[in-house]
C-alpha cells in the first residue's frame, strides 16, 4: 500500500537518510526501530511531506506522494502524530480536534466525527473547552492521536507516542493503538524507542541505523534476534 523507494533526505547539507526503501501493507502494524538520530522521525516527516527527499520516490497505492503539496498528504489518508505531540497550545481541545478535519471534504462532517473521538477518549470530552497547552502530558498525547483520527486516515503514523508518559498512560495508548489496528483495520506505522513494547504489538518491523535499514523481519522473530536484543532491547 505504502511504498518507500530509495529515498535520500538532507537537512541542509547533511544527509540523514540514505537510500531507504521499505513497504507497508494494508492493515499491518509496522514498528520502525532504531537508536537515537537514526532517522526515524525524519522518515515519518518525509512521508508526511514536511521534508522532501532529494532522491527516490514514495508511492501510495501506486500514486506518487513525494511531489504533491505537503498539506494535501492528509487528504490521501495518511495522518501523522508527530514527535512531541505538537498541539496548538492556545486553542481548546475541541478546536484542536476540529482542525484534524480541516480538509474541505470532511470539514462539514467534523461535528459528528468528533463525537467518535470522544467515545475513544472520554477524558477529552470532559476537557473539550480547556486550552490544549494546559493539559497534562498524557492528555496531550490523546489529543494528538484524536486529532490525527479526525481525518479518518487509512494509515496512522505515530512518532514515539509513549515518550515521557506515565506507565499507566503508556499502557492505555498502546492498547488503543492495538484496538485501532485490530478492530478498525487501520494501517499503523509506529516509531518507538520502547522496543519491547513495540515489538510486542506489531506485525512486522524495520530497524534503522544512520538512515539505512539494517534489519527487518516479523516482529516476533526480531525479538529473538541477538543483535536486536543487544542493540535495542538492552538485554
Amino acid at each position: 500500500m505504502l511504498e518507500i523507494r530509495g529515498i535520500d533526505v538532507y537537512y541542509g547539507e547533511v544527509q540523514v537518510i540514505h537510500d531507504l526503501s521499505f513497504t507497508v501493507k494494508e492493515g499491518e502494524m509496522i514498528a520502525l526501530l532504531g537508536s537515537n538520530g537514526a532517522g526515524k522521525s525524519t522518515t515519518l516527516k518525509t512521508i508526511s511531506g514536511l521534508l522532501r527527499p532529494k532522491k527516490g520516490e514514495i508511492y501510495l497505492d501506486g500514486q506518487r506522494l513525494d511531489q504533491i503539496s505537503p498539506s494535501s498528504i492528509i487528504s490521501h489518508g495518511i495522518a501523522h502524530v508527530p514527535e512531541g505531540r505538537r498541539l496548538f497550545p492556545q486553542m481548546t481541545v475541541e478546536e484542536n480536534l476540529m482542525l484534524g478535519a480541516f480538509e474541505k471534504k470532511i470539514w462539514n462532517g467534523r461535528k459528528k466525527r468528533v463525537e467518535h473521538i470522544y467515545e475513544l477518549f472520554p477524558r477529552l470530552l470532559e476537557r473539550k473547552g480547556q486550552l490544549a497547552g494546559t493539559l497534562s502530558g498524557g492528555e496531550q498525547q490523546m489529543v494528538a492521536i484524536g486529532r490525527a483520527l479526525m481525518s479518518k486516515p487509512r494509515i496512522l503514523m505515530l512518532d514515539e507516542p509513549s515518550l515521557g508518559l506515565a506507565p499507566n498512560i503508556v499502557e492505555f495508548i498502546f492498547g488503543l493503538i492495538q484496538k485501532l489496528n485490530k478492530e478498525e483495520g487501520m494501517t499503523i506505522l509506529l516509531v518507538e524507542q520502547n522496543a519491547n513494547a513495540a515489538l510486542e504489538i506489531s506485525d512486522y518491523s524495520y530497524v534503522l541505523e544512520t538512515g539505512k535499514i539494517v534489519l527487518d523481519g516479523k516482529a516476533k522473530e526480531l525479538k529473538d534476534n541477538v543483535y536486536v536484543k543487544q542493540a535495542y532491547l538492552g538485554i
Binding site: N36, G164, E171, N194
Partner: protein, 245 residues
C-alpha cells in the same frame, strides 16, 4: 535537623494561578544517594526541580543545601555552590559546538581558572558520556537522545554535589538507556547525590536507593523501589497493570 542530608526540601508549596502545582512537599536527600522521583504527568516533578534549582521561588517553604537556606539564591548562584540540573525539554546552546556547550558549565559552574582548562575538562566529560567523537558538532544538529546526553554532560561539568536529572533516559532506546544508567552509577560513585525524574520504570527502579511518588503536587508514597512497585495507591495512580522492575 538531619545533619546527614545534603539537601532538604522543607514543606514547599507552589501555585500557578488557580493550580496548586506543589503542596507541602517535604523530603531530604542523603549524601551519595540516588532518589527516584516519579509520578503522573503534571504531578509537579519538574516544578519541584525548578524550585530546587532556583528558577521558581516557592510560595512557602524553603530549600536547605548543606544546612544552609538557599531559598533566595538565584539559579546561577545555586549552580556555583553545587546544585546542577538538566532540563526535561532540552535547552542546548544550538549554535555552539559541544565543547563550548559543556565549557560553559565547566567554566562558570565551579570557576575554572582559564578557558582552556575548562575546554579540556569539557572534552573529558563529553568523552565520558560517550560523545567524544562529536566535539566540533553544533548542538542544533543533535538528535533527541544526544541532546539528553548533552544536558547531562553540561550539568556534570559544573562539578555538582547535587545533580537533578529530569527524564534523561526517556527517549533513548533501552540499550542506550542502560548506558546512561551506567554513567549515572559512576557519577554516584564519585560522591554525587542525585535526584532523578523518570518514567522509564526499569531504569529508575534499578538505580534508585529510594523513591518518592508525587501526585497532584503532594507526596503520595515514599520507600524503596520494591515497596513503591507494590504500593496499590501508586499502581492505581501511576504504574498501571504491567509488571515493573
Amino acid at each position: 535537623m538531619n545533619n546527614e542530608s545534603v539537601l532538604q526540601v522543607n514543606t514547599v508549596s507552589k501555585r500557578f494561578g488557580g493550580l496548586q502545582a506543589l503542596k507541602d512537599v517535604k523530603f531530604d536527600l542523603a549524601p551519595n544517594e540516588i532518589l527516584g522521583l516519579i509520578g503522573p504527568n503534571g504531578a509537579g516533578k519538574t516544578t519541584l526541580f525548578n524550585v530546587i534549582a532556583g528558577v521558581f521561588k516557592p510560595d512557602s517553604g524553603s530549600i536547605l543545601y548543606q544546612n544552609k537556606d538557599v531559598t533566595k539564591f538565584r539559579p546561577d548562584k545555586r549552580c556555583k555552590i553545587g546544585i546542577a540540573r538538566t532540563f526535561q525539554i532540552t535547552k542546548p546552546f544550538n549554535n555552539m559546538n559541544l565543547v563550548d556547550n559543556v565549557s560553559v558549565g565547566a567554566y562558570f559552574g565551579k570557576q575554572h581558572t582559564s578557558i582552556s582548562s575548562a575546554r579540556k575538562r569539557a572534552e573529558e566529560i563529553l568523552d565520558f558520556v560517550g560523545m567524544g567523537d562529536l566535539l566540533d558538532v553544533e548542538a542544533k544538529n543533535l538528535s533527541i537522545g544526544n541532546r539528553k546526553k548533552l544536558e547531562l554532560a553540561r550539568a556534570l561539568a559544573t562539578e555538582p554535589e547535587v545533580l537533578l536529572l529530569d527524564e534523561v533516559i526517556g527517549g533513548l532506546t533501552p540499550t542506550e538507556g542502560n548506558e546512561v544508567v551506567e554513567i549515572i552509577k559512576k557519577i554516584k560513585q564519585s560522591g554525587v547525590s542525585i535526584i532523578m525524574i523518570e518514567h522509564v520504570m526499569k531504569a529508575v527502579m534499578g538505580v534508585s536507593d529510594r523513591m518518592i511518588v508525587l501526585n497532584y503536587g503532594q507526596i503520595l508514597a515514599e520507600g524503596t523501589p520494591k515497596e513503591i512497585a507494590e504500593n496499590p495507591q501508586v499502581i492505581e495512580a501511576y504504574l498501571g497493570g504491567v509488571k515493573h522492575a
